[in-house]
Amino acid sequence: MEPPLRLIAGNPLDQLARTLEALLVVASAPLPVEELAAAADDDPARVEAALGLVAERYREGRSGVVLEHVAGGWAFRASREAAVACARLFERPAQRNLSPAAMETLAIVAYLGPCSRPDIARIRGVAADSAVAGLVERGLIAEAGRDDAAGAIRYRTTPLFERVFGLESLSQLPRLDDLGTDAEEIRGRLDAVAEKRTA
């Protein structure tokens, strides 16, 4: 362990920092700053400053409990160095055996959500019913109402998805434009094939 953080006794933020620690250890989901401020009955700007103290105390290498900003809020988790010990004790049903079909379905819902099973089947070329059911059961996606026109149930990713994948929000996903090949390039290849055939 590194030498512990020296907090000046009587630092006016100390008590707020301890309150935040308490809130974070009982919370069952990441807490946004506004929610922490409301519970601590304090100013959001002061809460942000106190979170800095807490983050310094609970960081990888210094502590087995680590503060992280994830899924739109702040949460405690286990340090990475303790992952093997944690794995011996706890199962992680959310991420067990995610098949390629499930991963593709998850990607489609994350990028295009809310979207329905027919939408997903359209892109994947394979019906997605069982993949969708599996992801719902794992809590990675959830129903988000029905499509007004066709009446199909639509799905979106859950905060658990962001937490499992370590994302602060969906905006942290890489931009679609930066992924894969664009339509122009594929079009070029199709044309090349067609020319060969007619030649």
């Binding site: 286990a78 998850l106 489609i108 066709a150 009446g151 992924l179 090949t181 594929i186 079009r187």
Partner: protein, 256 residues
């Protein structure tokens, strides 16, 4: 190499290709759940293990996989098949390229997620309430009953019209063609495949072709074709074989 004995290990199906076809034809396996690319890969792998190119196997495979693909495409996109067909070739190519690009991007997004999960998988956190936290009940806010009516009305929204083309996909059981061809061969010693089924919809022709392959496999018939695209001539095999093999075929179909 016998195409129909090709061993498959797919998400939706595990077993020989033959059984898969039978299940599809008997409507016991949803074609929409089937990864056709997986079948192609399995075939190519098997092909690569051999030194020589087995032309007969390739031909048979192409016919079968094309039939499967067409069935599946129509099942998945009952409306869009017609939509694409209505487009000018130029616009259709553009649309196809757009869809392929979208598909590729999603494949890459899935790969990114997989890598992310691998690198973030050592972050453990608690799911659910803390061990010694007081159990809290979050009371429901007062609700507007109109929401209930709205939800039921959405449930009563008619799904998009399924095209009639889709109805034509209720394709006949392969057994029907087995019997039809046997009946023809009882009257005549040979017949022309196109002459017999040429006027049927393409889907039924595909099923008829499967029946033809089945009959040849069991030794009931001989098939001749002078050249590619030339008429397929079907002839009775020797009598003594047919009785025994008829039983085998019936058993195969029932047991599948």
């Amino acid at each position: 190499m016998i195409v129909r004995e090709l061993d498959l290990d797919l998400d939706a199906f595990e077993g020989p290709f033959d059984l898969l076809l039978t299940l599809v034809l008997k409507d016991e396996l949803d074609l929409r759940e089937l990864d056709v690319a997986g079948i192609v890969l399995a075939f190519l792998e098997r092909l690569a293990e051999r030194e020589e190119l087995d032309l007969e196997a390739c031909g048979e495979f192409l016919v079968l996989i094309a039939a499967l693909l067409e069935l599946k495409a129509r099942g998945l996109f009952p409306d869009e098949a017609a939509e694409l067909a209505d487009l000018e070739p130029e616009a259709a190519a553009e649309e196809l390229a757009r869809r392929l690009a979208e598909y590729r991007r999603m494949k890459d997004a899935a790969a990114w997620l997989r890598e992310r999960l691998a690198s973030e998988g050592d972050r453990f956190f608690r799911l659910g309430p803390a061990p010694l936290a007081a159990k809290v009940e979050t009371p429901l806010a007062p609700q507007d009953p109109e929401q209930l009516a709205r939800v039921i009305r959405l449930l009563a929204v008619e799904p998009p019209q399924v095209s009639l083309e889709h109805m034509a996909l209720r394709f006949p059981p392969v057994l029907q063609f087995l019997e039809r061809f046997r009946a023809v061969l009882r009257r005549r010693s040979r017949f022309d495949f196109d002459g017999e089924v040429g006027r049927l919809p393409r889907i039924e022709q595909a099923v008829a072709f499967l029946a033809l392959l089945e009959l040849r496999r069991s030794g009931e018939i001989r098939i001749d074709q002078a050249a590619p695209f030339a008429p397929i001539r079907v002839a009775r095999a020797r009598e003594e074989n047919s009785n025994r093999d008829e039983r085998t075929v019936a058993w195969n179909l029932r047991s599948a």
